[in-house]
Amino acid sequence: MQSKFPSRLLPYLLLSPSIVIVIVFLIIPSLQSLYLSFFRVSPFGDRLIYVAIDNFTNLLTPDYLNSFIVTVVFTGAVVVVGLVVCLALALAANQKVAGIGLYRTGLIWPYALSPAVAGTIWALVFDPSTGAFSYFISLASGAMPNWRTNGPFAVVVITLAATWKMVGYNVIFFLAGLQTIPRELIEAAEIDGAGPLKRFWNITFPLLSPMTLFLLIMNTLYGFFQVFGLIDVMTEGGPARATEVLVYKLYYDGFISLKTGYASAQSIVLFAFVAGLTLLQFRFAKRWVFYQ
C-alpha cells in the first residue's frame, strides 16, 4: 500500500486528459456505431432512415458469411502455426549456447516490421512470374501456383506473411515466459530421470500456459484486427473475395460503398467478439499487463 498525498483535486487533474480522450474518441464513437447500426443513410446522404435490425439480418448474406469464414480460417492458421513454431524457436533460443544473444536478436527483429511491409515483401517472393518462393515451389512440384488467381492459395500466402510478421513478437513473449520458469525445477526433474519430452509436457508447458493463453488472445486479435494493411497491399480482398477478412469488408462497406449502417452493424459483431475474448482473458488470467 502506497502512502497517500492529501490533495483532493490533483488526482482528477492527472486523470482528466486520459479520461477525456477515451470518452471522446473511443466510448462515444462506439456508442454511435451501435446507434447507427439500426439506421441506413438515405440515397442523398442527408438523413438517417430507421431500419430496425435489417443491417444485422443482412449480415446473413453469403458475402458476409464468406468474410467470416475467411477470417476464422486465416486467424486460426496464424494462431496455431505461429504459436507452435515460435514456441519451438523460443525453446531453442532459451538454451545456454555460445552467441545466444545474437541468435535472439536474429529471431525477434520481425517485430519491427509492419503488416504493409510484410505484404509487399511476400507479394514479391510469391510473385507468380518472378518470385523466389514461386520458383522454389515450381522446382519442387513442377507447377507455378498463382495466388492472384487461386483463392485458397492466396489465403495460404497471406497466412504465411502474417505469421512471419508475428514471429518476433511471439518469440519475445515466449522467451520472457520461459525465463520465469525456475531452472532448478527442470534440473531436479532431469536428475529424477525425466527425459526432455516429459520435462517439457509436465513442467515447461503447464508453467508457460498463462503466456501461451496471452499470446493466443493477442494473435487472435492480430488476425482479426491488425492485418488490414497486409491484405490491402497484397490482395485487396481478392481474388474473388477469397481473402476478404471482416475488417477489410467493414472498411469497404463503410468507406467505399458508403453503407454506414451496414458497416456499423459489422462493427457491433466485431465488438461482441472482442468482448468475448476480453472476458476470457479476465476469467483465466488476473495479473497480466497487455502489450500491443
Binding site: L10, I27, D127, G229, G254, L270
Partner: protein, 276 residues
C-alpha cells in the same frame, strides 16, 4: 559430455536454419532493390545484387515524396509514444498515490475499456468526428485519438505499487510536493519501462495503416505505410519490384534501427516486471 556437444550442435543448427528462413524474404527484397528492371524479370530469379541500387532508391524516394512521408511517420510516432507515456504516467500516479478518491474505480474501468474498443469497432463515427472537427488531413487526427493507453497505465501502476512506501514517506518529510515526487523520483525510477513503452508505442504507431488511410487524402499528409501502397498502385502484371522493394527497405529501416538500439530496454523492461 559428448551428448551435450551433439545437443549444442543441434541447437545451433536449428537457430541458424530458422534465422536463414526468417531473414530470407528481407534478404531477397534487398537484393531485388539493387537490381535493374530487366534483372527482376529473368527466369530463374537472380539472387545476386544488380547495379541499379542508387537509381531504384532515388526513384522510390521521388515517386511518393518519401522524405515527406518519413517525416510524417516519424512525427506522429514520436508524438503518440510521448503522449501515451506522459498521460499514462499521470494516470498511474493518480491511481496509486491518492487513496480512494471518489470515482477511482469508474475511471479505472474507463481506461481499461480501451482494450475492448479497437479502431474497426468505431471507425465510421470516429472519422465523422474528425470531419466535424475539421481534422481530416491534419496531424491532430493522426495522433490525438491514440493518446490514451491502458497498456501504459497498467504498466506504470504495477511499477509504482512496487516502489517502497518508505521512499515516499521520506520524501514527504523533506517537504516534497506530489508533482515533485512524480517528476523527481517516480519518473527517474521508471526509466527502463519508459523506454520499453516508447519502443512498443513507436513501432505500434509507425506501423499503423488503416487509420492514416482513412483520415488523410492529400499526398503531403500520407505516412510511409500508405506510401508502399502508392508505389504498388497501378502495377498490374509487371510490377517495378526493384523500386517497390527500395521503398519497402526505406520504410522498414527506421523501426528496425530503433528496435536494435532499444532492444535491451525491452528485455529489461519485461524482466523487471516478471521478477519483482
Amino acid at each position: 559430455m559428448n551428448r551435450k556437444r551433439y545437443f549444442h550442435f543441434f541447437i545451433h543448427l536449428i537457430l541458424i536454419v530458422s534465422f536463414v528462413i526468417i531473414a530470407f524474404p528481407v534478404f531477397y527484397a534487398f537484393i531485388v532493390s539493387t537490381q535493374t528492371f530487366q534483372d527482376v524479370f529473368v527466369y530463374p530469379p537472380k539472387f545476386t545484387p544488380g547495379n541499379d541500387t542508387i537509381q531504384n532508391y532515388v526513384a522510390a524516394w521521388e515517386t511518393v515524396k518519401m522524405g515527406r512521408l518519413l517525416f510524417n511517420s516519424t512525427l506522429i510516432s514520436v508524438a503518440v509514444a510521448v503522449g501515451k507515456i506522459v498521460l499514462s504516467l499521470m494516470a498511474a500516479f493518480a491511481f496509486t498515490y491518492f487513496g480512494d478518491f471518489k470515482g477511482k474505480g469508474l475511471f479505472f474501468v474507463i481506461i481499461l475499456i480501451t482494450h475492448m474498443l479497437p479502431l474497426p469497432i468505431r471507425i465510421v463515427p470516429t472519422f465523422e468526428l474528425m470531419r466535424s472537427f475539421n481534422w481530416v488531413d491534419t496531424y491532430y487526427a493522426l495522433t490525438v485519438p491514440f493518446f490514451a493507453s491502458a497498456t501504459g497505465v497498467l504498466l506504470f501502476r504495477q511499477l509504482f505499487l512496487t516502489v517502497p512506501a518508505s521512499l515516499c514517506d521520506a520524501a514527504r518529510v523533506d517537504g516534497i510536493t506530489p508533482m515533485g515526487f512524480l517528476m523527481r523520483i517516480l519518473i527517474p525510477l521508471s526509466r527502463t519501462n519508459v523506454s520499453a513503452l516508447f519502443l512498443i508505442e513507436f513501432l505500434y504507431m509507425w506501423n499503423q495503416y488503416l487509420w492514416p488511410l482513412v483520415v488523410t487524402n492529400r499526398d503531403e499528409m500520407r505516412v510511409v505505410q500508405i506510401g508502399l501502397k502508392m508505389l504498388l498502385a497501378g502495377q498490374a502484371q509487371a510490377a517495378d519490384w526493384n523500386i517497390i522493394m527500395a521503398g519497402t527497405i526505406i520504410a522498414m529501416l527506421p523501426p528496425l534501427i530503433i528496435l536494435f538500439v532499444m532492444q535491451s530496454s525491452l528485455v529489461k523492461g519485461f524482466s523487471m516486471q516478471e521478477e519483482k
